[in-house]
Amino acid sequence: MDLLQNLYMGFSISLTPINILYCLAGCFLGQIVGVLPGIGAPTAVALLLPLTFSINPTSAIIMFAGIYYGVAYGGTITSVLINVPGESSTVMTCLDGYQMALKGRAGAALSVAAIGSWIAGTIAVAILMCFAPALANFALRFGPSEFFGLAFMSFGLLTVFGAEEPIKTIISTLIGLLIATIGLDVVSGMPRFTFGMPQLFGGFDFIVMICGIFGLAEVFNSIEEPEEGQLIKEKMRLRDLFLTKAEWVASRWAILRGTIIGFLTGIIPAGGITTASFLAYLAEKRVSRHPEDFGKGAIEGVASPEAANNAASISGFAPLLALGIPGSPTTAVMLAGFMMWGIRPGPLLFQTKPDLVWGLISSKFIGNLILLLMNIFLIPLFVMILRVPYTILMCFIVIFASVGAFTVNNNFFDVWMMLGFGILGYIMRKLSYPIVPLVLALVLGNLAENSIRQALTISGGSFSIFFTRPISVLFIIVGILAYLSPVIRWALKGVRGPKVEVS
């Protein structure tokens, strides 16, 4: 019963008034940081680091963890309300969340996101608590060949398998891959498609691109429809703000599936929160009985990625706590923070600093509860934003997206780039090209490219590396089946087709 003992010790630390206060402060800050597109959790944690030298490291890490998962809650708000993802991990929430808002169900979208995040967070902490070292060791089995397999499979499942317009989907993916190659290439160090502009050496930041493709494109689109008024015209009743029973029934399994996918993706070193939300959304669309509703305001399309991003933000701590390796940019900053406080995080942390580890783990139960309550009570306030006349809201979105793009690297060049991506998003929407494949290519393009080149370097150019390792071969096979699915479907039709005609 070591576990219960440890947990008891953890709670005795995290439930002290001062630590509850730090947890609250972290959650609150995370929520705000999440709402602002340009500032992500790594920046916020880095900014706060110097202020924490005088406080107890356990309190500091509890606060930082609060920021880390608070961000996942906060980013949802702008995604749903104004179609500008506050964080890269809430991009997928835009797709159905904003559509729900247009139908007057913004409150429901925000509630399901908060509840889903809470459930996912609590389950994830429980699993993390029991199996952190084992999970971290499993995560180590992911090397370059597995990362490539994962990306290969994701592209296959998304782009070809079940696409309504395969050609447009493929074009959209290729545009995304092309954009992802811009900048200095990690493997050769050479600039690609930078046209001699040093500002492009770093490529485009993901936030800059999505602020344009989602937020600005939405504004451009609505300029054409000079419809006076608000997004929500009728007076809202309180019960409009929360979930209906049918919505809850529809989303509860989505939340669980999202939790599992998110958790697994989060522990993989290069996985990350954004990828987790993508995979959860894609999986949900695949298992759904009504995939055609996705992108038009399906509540599962909000529940699943929201659960996934929170589960991933928690499971991302497994490699940090158990092995001392950073699995994400935020945990990398925390690693630096540990060092500055004079603590070496690493495999020995569970033994040398049990108070810190268990204080942190138990604080996550508390933090998630705080965030749930905070979000549920604030929903009516957030939804009020939609009553602002759209002509005014539009200006607000432009300002918001511009500030977001600027603060990513404190560079005005990025604001112009965002404008460019806004135009790209607008054109794509006009010509009805799907946007999700483009965004997925932006997220996974670099991972896919770097990992295949790393894997082939390791194997000395032999492709056998992808087929001799169990995890990567599984991904590759699923991927190949997905790519071949139009052919398979066509073949099946050819066999069955005549029979149907006869009957």
């Binding site: 990690v186 160090g189 001699g196």
Partner: protein, 326 residues
């Protein structure tokens, strides 16, 4: 006539006063607004840690009348942040951290990339160390085992590092040439990704700076087998230098500070003096050098500029050898 003389005298007096006043002002240059301190790499990396440590030590020791505000401008092997600083020509309220990788990345990237020639070098602060690290259960007990094995199977052992054309890639090439061996160099994006790949058994060995592997070393999961330095490190007295075994692979991994070109001479002098006082403080030794296992190495403005230029010149040859430079 009298009037004229009087005018001459007054003008002379006036000018003399003016010269004195401006001279006094110049010698007394002080920053008048917060300093933007650019770390051209992502939060959590070595340059970020340096910038944040400096900002906190300078504030703690009250060495500067205004705060240093750290701004991460990451991307493109440090070139994005360096470019942003280069473009603020003449602005004495901007500083940037500078490491050899920035100079080398600019060489490889070529046209348009910001070289050290477009910056004012302020000072060098410390030297970072590069070690070859293997997993504890690796079949290679010593660096000689690695050399012997790669002589038997040339070009089959893998070594991971943080990016082509960067310090560890150059170290690898120099080592290969000296020992007459060949590795497969696998570039990753960060030190964190390298140690992860090593622990997972995906590569045979990695290049790493001490903070990147010490936690895992303390837990006996990895061990260093060699250091690219002239003398052994006090923290790792049992780890041989590559020079000891007959291969002069030393790498001068400086960590320094630069400012935009065209800032007043007095401003450069102010910063040089400020950093000199910082490296003499005990806070610097305790909170930075000791904690992150760096060697002290103060270089004044002129010396640092010379070192940076020399380092760039030396790396050119290896980069050409690697086919990254024409």
């Amino acid at each position: 006539m009298k009037m004229n003389k009087w005018l001459q005298v007054t003008t002379m007096v006036f000018l003399t006063i003016l010269v004195f006043v401006s001279g006094a002002q110049a010698a007394d240059w002080k920053p008048t607004k917060p300093i933007e301190f650019v770390a051209p790499f992502a939060p959590g990396g070595g340059s970020d840690v340096l910038a944040r440590s400096i900002a906190s030590i300078i504030e703690g020791e009250k060495l500067c009348p205004v705060p240093l505000l750290v701004a991460n401008k990451a991307g493109g092997s440090g070139l994005v942040g360096t470019t942003a600083v280069v473009q603020q020509k003449g602005d004495p309220h901007v500083l940037v951290t500078y490491i050899p990788g920035q100079a080398q990345a600019a060489l490889v990237a070529g046209k348009g990339a910001p070289t050290y020639r477009e910056l004012t070098m302020i000072c060098g602060l410390a030297l970072d160390e590069q070690l070859i690290v293997v997993k504890t259960d690796s079949r290679f007990k010593t660096i000689q085992d690695i050399i012997a094995e790669s002589k038997k199977r040339p070009g089959e052992l893998t070594i991971a590092g943080t990016g082509s054309g960067q310090d560890d890639h150059i170290c690898t090439r120099v080592f290969e040439r000296s020992a007459g061996i060949k590795f497969r160099y696998v570039p990753f994006k960060s030190g964190g990704e390298c140690i992860t790949a090593l622990l997972g058994g995906h590569v045979d060995m990695i290049w790493a700076n001490p903070p990147e592997f010490v936690p895992q070393w303390e837990a006996k999961m990895v061990r260093p087998v060699a250091v690219a330095k002239l003398t052994r490190m006090p923290d790792f007295p049992d780890v041989p230098t590559l020079k000891e075994i007959g291969h002069t692979v030393t790498y001068f991994f400086y960590r320094g500070i630069a400012a935009p070109q065209g800032i007043p001479v007095e401003a450069a002098a102010f910063y040089e003096n400020m950093f000199k006082r910082m490296v003499d403080s005990s806070a610097w030794k305790e909170k930075y050098l000791k904690k992150y296992m760096l060697s002290p190495s103060w270089m004044g403005s002129k010396e640092f500029a010379k070192v940076v230029a020399q380092n760039e010149e030396e790396s050119k040859e290896t980069l050409k050898d690697l086919g990254l430079l024409k």
